[in-house]
């Protein structure tokens, strides 16, 4: 006996919750009415990302790694839904494995890119990486793998993120948000805003509380976005949409060097 | 004890390394020890002992702008007979109120073992002149309060005017001496470090405190297990070195019976049995009492309890 399915309403993912756009607008994508995010939604997302930053960067690296691994667990459980809205099971499998790969870096990166520095004097000198802060990400295609490839290195290092999802294929991003919401990710660490690129990209590039900007997935006038970012000396990153490396994590980290005398 | 140089304001500088040393508390280790003690599993008879003790050392408190004689009378009755359905439940140690409400608390607790404690010295901020603070103290003592809970001047402390902080305590103690015991509230949530908590504790004790107390309860950050441990260690050091007995009061943020038991375990394992008495230990609380009553009834009946079955006051 057939029954009428209950269709999902696709909303934004901000602060661990799923609000509609404050503008009340939607646009048509993949046969659904998808929330058309506004500048104010970006503003709200950045605010909650900032608030979430202290707790997320304050967690032990081990705990952060475990949270990322749990994201992979949740994605694995939702393979079918995710596959439906991207290129299929292969893209989902690679995306899950990518998250696992980055999860494993959380408690190791400092050992690879940090250092104890042999300065010429009776000082102990060490360099440690630290998260930059709220990071804006323009998600590249493919809609799941590209997003995950850019998101995982940003958050594993302790940053919080505001992601502008793929404009043409936004549904998988919201499916992913449902994984995030059930993966013990503290609210506000990852925020996903769907909508029109041309409206959202300048909003995030010009926001003074976004400290790093990942333009890997940017299209259109990229130079203009970089110019907007210069106003608060944003770290502008152009990575690769389908590659994994600890240096993708390092791109979103500051380096702090500390001196201390050695003496009785 | 060697004679020590006396600074203006009467502050003595301890010279010998054996004396309680100023500052120097390792925060990580302190918090670990507090966390470890908090894992003690207190069950059955030992739990009932702790819960009843928690009531016997409780200062049942109301410190609101909206307090009225009616509210205080009801709270006092609750403190005398916390559970009307069970006469075996002991009375609390004291009722703690603002100065204006002292007479009403006294009237209701007359003839019982329950004391009346009054806050004074421009509680909670302490930001008034010494004259005003002394006048307020004199008023509550004259009104008959058994105990005075004063606040230290945190502004003076944090700007390094330790002599001024010390002086105030000495002067307030003068007003109380012989008539009321003095608790000195450090407001640990504003002091910033455990080193400062240790210094403030020593300062308060040097000034004559009968009890040192964590908080006013008016800040989000009040009593915590590590802060109490820090203060208990000062009390222990002073007692070891001089024989002087100083009491401890943990106040603010203690809402659940489980927490109260953790605070008592700490006192037990740091200062020993001798401090597990209302003459040397108090818990300042308001909503805690009903949670303790619920836990006691659960121990007796084996069932988890429902707040509707316990009077609000």
């Amino acid at each position: 006996m057939s029954r009428l399915p209950v269709r999902k309403t696709y909303k934004l993912f901000i602060g661990g919750a799923f609000p509609r756009s404050e503008s009340g607008r939607t646009y048509d994508a993949e046969g659904a009415n998808v929330a058309r995010g506004s500048r104010k939604d970006i503003r709200d997302a950045v605010r909650t990302a900032r608030q979430a930053g202290a707790a997320w960067s304050g967690m032990t690296a081990y705990n952060r790694g475990q949270v990322l691994y749990r994201i992979a667990e949740m994605m694995e459980a939702r393979q079918a839904e995710l596959a439906e809205f991207c290129d299929g099971a292969d893209e989902v499998g690679r995306s899950i494995d990518r998250v696992v790969w980055y999860a494993g870096w959380a408690d190791k990166l400092a050992q690879v890119i940090g250092s104890a520095n042999p300065v010429a004097g009776p000082y102990f000198n060490f360099t440690v990486p630290e998260p930059t802060g709220v990071t804006g990400i323009l998600a590249p295609e493919p809609p799941l793998l590209g997003l995950v490839t850019r998101l995982a290195p940003v958050i594993v290092g302790g940053n919080t993120a505001v992601v502008v999802a793929s404009e043409a294929h936004p549904l998988v991003a919201i499916e992913l948000a449902e994984c995030l919401a059930t993966a013990d990710v503290p609210p506000g660490v990852v925020n996903i805003v769907t909508g029109l690129r041309r409206e959202l990209a300048p909003a995030i590039a010009s926001h003074m509380d976004v400290l790093a900007l990942d333009l890997t997935g940017a299209d259109g006038d990229v130079a203009e976005l970089e110019r907007l970012g210069a106003e608060n000396v944003k770290r502008i990153v152009r990575g690769r949409p389908d590659a994994q490396s600890p240096y993708e994590i390092a791109a979103f980290l500051e380096l702090k060097t500390v001196w201390h005398p050695i003496g009785m | 004890m060697a004679t020590a140089p006396v600074l203006p304001g009467g502050f003595e500088l301890p010279l010998e390394p054996r004396l309680p040393r100023l500052g120097s508390v390792d925060a990580v280790a302190l918090e670990e020890r507090a966390a470890s003690l908090a894992t003690r599993s207190i069950k059955r008879d030992s739990k009932v002992f702790a819960l009843e003790l928690a009531i016997r050392v409780m200062d049942l408190t109301t410190l609101e702008g909206a307090d009225t004689p009616g509210k205080v009378a009801a709270l006092s009755s609750k403190g005398i007979h916390p559970d009307p359905s069970d006469p075996n439940i002991p009375s609390v140690a004291a009722i703690c109120v603002y100065p204006n409400l002292v007479p009403y608390a006294l009237e209701r607790t007359k003839g019982t073992s329950v004391k009346v404690a009054a806050v004074a010295t421009a509680f909670p901020s302490g930001q008034s002149s010494l004259e005003v603070k002394l006048l307020e103290t004199r008023e509550v003592v004259d009104a008959g309060a058994h105990e005075v809970d004063m606040v230290i001047d945190r502004g003076a402390f944090l700007s390094g005017r330790y002599a001024a902080v010390y002086d105030e305590i000495v002067r307030v103690k003068e007003v109380c001496a012989g008539r009321a015991h003095l608790k000195v509230i450090l407001e640990t949530g504003e002091l910033g470090t455990y080193d400062n908590v240790r210094r403030a504790s020593l300062l308060a004790i040097a000034g004559g405190a009968d009890f040192i107390k964590t908080s006013t309860g008016k800040l989000p950050l009040s009593a915590t297990l590590p802060v109490q441990l820090c203060m208990l260690e000062v009390i222990r050091d002073v007692h070891e070195e001089t024989g002087r007995v100083v009491g401890m009061k943990a106040a603010g943020g203690i809402r659940q019976a489980k927490q109260a038991v953790q605070y008592l375990v700490q006192v037990h394992e740091t200062l020993g049995l001798a401090w597990l008495t209302p003459d040397r230990y108090r818990l300042g609380a308001s909503t805690l009492l009903n949670d303790v009553l619920m836990q006691l009834r659960k121990e007796r009946t084996g069932r988890y309890q429902n707040p509707d079955y316990f009077t609000v006051d």
Binding site: G104 | R21, D45, G178
Partner: protein
Amino acid sequence: MTKDKREVAHRPETAAIPTGWEYSPAPESREVVHLEERYGLYIGGQFVEPLSNERYTTIDPAREESLAEVAQAGKADVDRAVKAAREAYAERWSAIRPSERAKYLFRIARILQERSREFAVLESMNGGKPIRESRDVDLPLAAAHFFYYAGWADKLEYAFPNRRPRPLGVAGQIIPWNFPLLMLAWKIAPALAAGNTVVLKPAETTPLSALLFCDVVRQAELPPGVVNIVTGDGRTGAELVSHPDVNKIAFTGSTEVGKAIQRTLAGTGKRLSLELGGKAANIIFDDAPLDQAVEGIVNGIYFNQGHVCCAGSRLLVEESIYETVVSKLKRRMRTLRVGDPLDKNTDVGAINSKQQLDKIGSLVQAGIDEGAEIYQPPCKLPERGYWFVPTVFTNVAQSYRIAQEEIFGPVLSVLTFRTPDEAIEKANNTPYGLSAGVWTEKGSRILAMAQRLKAGVVWANTYNRFDPASPFGGYKESGFGREGGRHGLESYVALDDA
């Protein structure tokens, strides 16, 4: 009746001081553990009967009750295990993608987290350590170790600049009885992450958590033969060490046995890592936060009944604060609760075996005979089981046996020093070099002491802290090689040219 309220402040204490607050027993239930009556050897992904036909009984040292029968693996059994490990290495483990290897290890970590209560109770039953420690320290660290090394499995090219690390092949691993499951994790996790397969021999007295671990291996669906467990005493270990087809031996245990292994392997070209004994100095300066330092002393020597290679078994205290520290220490010792390991309030559990108990007793007697002053807090010990009261010796000279030899029990020796140089000299004056502790508020002094102490692990203002990311291992006769951290991978890889 009225009371004169003005008398209140001078009233003698009338509120009754309780005569006692005994903590009611708070036992952790044993029901969560399901024990077989007898166990075989775990080889090639299944339990098999020992070809040696020899078995022995393993006990609960707190009750002197037997828990199960386990196998005494002989030469043929060890050979069978190594063959299984070799086959698994050649046919399965070295070929699979590193990212898949990682996911097996992540599974193991997760399963250990899920079953941590079961394992914690078993560890306390078979080893004697307090449940609070196995629950709060051993299990979380063991799971974390697998989690940490899981993440390295597919990142080895980043661990060694300009090198392509390759696995060694089959690793033979021999572990001690003081942290049975944790030592298993320290050995197996990095070995597997690097692509090796293993044959592991748990300690004679504590085989059960390793045997239960085989069930985790089964649940994780690890390919058969990647992990093999052979139980037995020192004879089994000797067979494993001398087996010609083992590429690498990892040993944690006594210095005496470590030297024997090193002699056996001489000339064979086999890789070796050793984690041996220690006699660590815990150094307290006059500006140290005293109450926290005392906690550090207590944690350093009474944690796990002192069955810790890196235990702070020598307290070096600056002479000017000697009286205060010793008085605080003795007072603190009186609050230590010795008893049933499965009681959640127990601080100090049972000694692991009669043999170890006798050894501790004999060294303590030596201390008394040599003229040191002994203090033991009053303690009511259970009738059955192996127990030793926490002990501290004062008036100890550097030359006394109790200041030189590793006791491996809850026995502390206290010595004094006057200057930092003297502290360094005394701390380093030992053939061991595993760990040291420094307590001072002065940052530069921490770093200066750390620089000059000949110890593989220096703890400043803390003690007995472990983390899978932190390399652990000794100088001198405390062994060589490191476990934990990026450096912990070195023992399990061959660093070919770039």
